[in-house]
Symmetry: D2
């Protein structure tokens, strides 16, 4: 069987390496190139085999049917344009083309696949959502679309991420001895750049709510847990009904009675969601908990869902066990 | 110098062992007895030296000037009564005598020391606060006492604790291989027993607010971080002013510009607090973050503050560096 | 395609659950039954789906073409006999039938697959090697078979294992807060039961050497690293030659220039091996380092290799990526 | 009481910060200066309080009665000379002046305090031992001094260290997500620079033995465990007698029946040692296990023991609980 050639820009980071692994296991894709700035000490191996990185400038962009860009925020947009000009479709994992990221020259679909499947299918370029935004929005979308979020209310999102979310960057504060046995909040005061991304998307889904988002750094390698407190117009008789109905048949969304935890989802392209009514509060309020792997459903896995759609392949190709 | 004899009931658990260590280092206290149900495999050593446990029934309660009870919730109250009858003062670390815990025969001061110092000083028995409640209430008390919490609003507390908070109990879900690389919420739907405790105390401090409290289990041994979102009547000009003023001169409260993390407080009897106004929300809202060591300021250290007061000693004796 | 029915005895422990996952992904096997003593708190799910355990007494042994026994040491042998009488082939993961384990009624092949492939192929029952023994013997076998180990010398094996090696047992010393940030040796004085197993097997491979084996408990979930110091009759010109030659073409053995670490092998049925001559010592001596996943190549994965051979399937079925 | 001024060169690394904490708690010392190259992201706080670092060039070396140098290997020696010329006594924590480190202009005592106490007491400059060497040599010294190590035999040392042993250096391979859930050997083939240090010292203690030393990197922050296999001329009737006799009365050495682990020693200036005869080997052989905190007894704590001696203070000042 003929395999479609794909390239990965920025392949030496955590998301980039996850993409390489997904491409290596994909039944219909072959790796055309992988680029990385040389970095001393980087151990890059894919499924046990070493990978040779090219400089981005040498990458044969036109040879690829599709290019994944896992370049850093701020550096990605020009390469997306170059790849598109060279005739490739593009999934951009950076924030550069996402809603809320400033004024892009040309808006592209926001690839929260379960919410924007049709727009993705017809696109040439897709902006892959941020990891925190993926967890939060998959939890909130059924309520927003259903008009269930109390207008004018404040939605409070507390999320915690494994350290791969901070990238493969040799920062002193990410050393093992600094992160182990610690836990910290960051981006205080609602200052994380995913807030604008989530606010913009929630608005398009019909919600008129304020967002408070506090991210935390966990002493684990992978995974995001988002704990969301959301005032609602009424508590549904079956509190899980909004998610069960909205995500019926979705291969990568799991609606669960029990609270999901990181172990339920790491190394899988899954979002696991539960919800509960909150007792003892006057305003009807739901607690929604979502777990994803920040590198899979929160990055490379969702990027592959989008790539499959862009290339006319089965959306689940290369993503199920 | 003559040392006052103290006893520890339930000394083989994590809080009990922390108490033993504090007593061993205390300049004015000596251990009269320590009790524990024999437990196979329990490694109990204090500052490198093994400790022999007696059965509670054999403990010479009357020999102690003060008894700490670190017995499990539901088992502690009768032993508190027995120790009191034998003439000892008591600090009870269980939930049995705390507000919100049902209908105690006889209310005793709630030993959140910085808030209830005078009541503690005159008491014979003190109910030591829960670990989550300590972190949350130290964060909220200056706002509650100052009338700054928006009446009728919902205060959202997300807290995460190290596993020693669950006690030295051989539960399968607390095994290393189950906890490492995981993170989970529990007591969903506002069902944690500290909610009633916090609600009762906040009410006495003058707040009319609803509470949403979601605890989480961290893959660390010690420490609690509470991230609190609290609607306020107005944002203070200096967002830290309520805490700086209320806790001026407090030896165990640190008000910080930067976000506190577990490493700032573990193995210390400290609560470290910061606050920020939340940008981009219509209702004026503060973000308050509090870090404590669940076994020290959240249990044994605060118990020692209270014991020092009950015994007429300096409140900081045995607790600094 | 018709799938062969297999059963798993003792399926709720770590090795048992790993077996269930391997069966679920196997192209030619289907789960006929899984047994477990009911255990409160056990979270048993396979690839995201819950599994219902039967009591061993209810298991339809005769319905299975092959039975894996992951029962505890000392309990397994009678069930192996029962399964064999019922007509099933058996892979026994316990120590009961291994060499060095006392005097079995009837010796069965020792399933260190790469070393005993032909014996396994013709058997009805196979004793699956212990995890430490697998790592150590795969490292030593090429030297032993080649007559390279100095006669009468002492081979020193230091090995460290993740805590799943101790089983899914709620022991206080395996709680997260006891294991994290710790590292300890155990079974001091050469007292681990794998010593007899390794000594017996090395003897059959032609080595006349004494063994010193010290196991250690690592604060990780999975993986074994064995660091072996072995006096040799001569240092090979290419120090890796003995392994490269002996394991040429082996799908699950990786001979590497660089030191292998746990990350290279976890969740894979791989043994990764390197060797170096030791500088500055008078007696020619090699350092051999072997990494495996204790639950995969050290237990369930190797058991599946053996099961594939017993059932006439491709040895790698269900085991590659 | 008048306090003696001391300075710390290279105070922003892990050993340097540990020194700052020890100075802060010392009853007879005061910090005169602390130097560090400015490093973005370095969080330097001592006992909860921030410390301001000077450049080494600005440090008033002559104001200090004693200078600790925690500068990197290769950079320290010239600063030791400068501090000595300025009239300060010096404890050098680098490898620059240790035996086996090449040809120092002027040999200085090797500050393995329990072994070289008198030499240290009369010195102006002391070379503080390496962390691995401290653990290994404290384990071997009683055997070497007693002539118990089999002449010509090979002593095998396997040691594992927490990551602070690698320093506060933003290397990609020391990031949390690279170290967690991993374990690796390094400096293969007897190539670690502590081998020469240990060999030189063991020689001066009278041993004629070869050394094989394999260090490993543990996913913990602190602590070293050394597991030593040592052929002996005869097994002592009481296997612990050599250590009990040699270290009788030593305040910082603990000889234990049970295997020591990292938890027994972290954050304490203690070396904890046990020994066992090895069963089943023809040559009489002992297994010696030593645990220390690499940053305390293996670096800053032992440096403080030496500083106390150099300054005529009680050796234990500032070091006991």
């Amino acid at each position: 069987m003929h395999k479609l050639p794909v390239g990965v820009l920025g392949a030496s980071g955590y998301a980039g390496r996850e993409l390489l692994a997904l491409v290596a296991r994909h039944p219909a894709l072959a790796l055309a190139f992988a680029t990385a700035r040389t970095r001393e000490g980087a151990r890059a191996s894919v499924e046990g085999r070493p990978v040779t990185f090219a400089a981005a400038e040498q990458a044969p962009l036109g040879d690829a049917a599709l290019v994944f860009s896992a370049l850093p925020h701020g550096e990605s947009a020009p390469w997306v344009a170059r790849a598109e000009e060279a005739g490739a479709k593009v999934v951009d994992l950076s924030a550069d083309l996402r809603p809320g990221a400033g004024a892009p020259a040309k808006p592209v679909p926001y690839g929260l696949t379960e919410i924007a499947r049709d727009a993705v299918r017809g696109a040439r370029v897709v902006a892959n959502p941020g990891c925190y935004a993926t967890a939060s929005l998959l939890g909130l979308a059924p309520l927003a679309e259903g008009g269930l979020i109390t207008p004018g209310a404040t939605v409070t999102i507390n999320a915690a991420s494994g350290v791969t979310g901070a990238g493969f960057t040799p920062r002193p504060d990410l050393l093992f001895a600094e992160v182990a046995e610690d836990f910290r909040a960051y981006a205080l005061g609602n200052s994380h750049h995913h807030v604008a991304e989530m606010r913009a998307v929630l608005g398009t889904l019909g919600a008129d709510a304020d967002l408070v988002f506090t991210p935390h750094l966990l002493p684990v390698s992978r995974g995001i847990l988002a704990t969301i407190t959301v005032p609602v117009t009424a508590i549904p008789t079956d509190p899980l009904a909004p998610w069960r109905e909205r995500y019926a048949g979705e291969p990568f969304i799991e609606v669960a009675e029990e609270a999901p935890s990181l172990r339920d989802v790491v190394r899988r392209n899954a979002a696991r969601i539960t919800a509960r009514p909150l007792a003892g509060v006057r305003a009807p309020t739901l607690q929604v908990i979502v777990a994803i792997d920040n590198l899979v459903k929160g990055a490379a896995g969702q990027a592959m869902q989008n790539a499959n759609l862009l290339l006319g392949l089965d959306e689940t190709a290369g993503l199920l066990a």
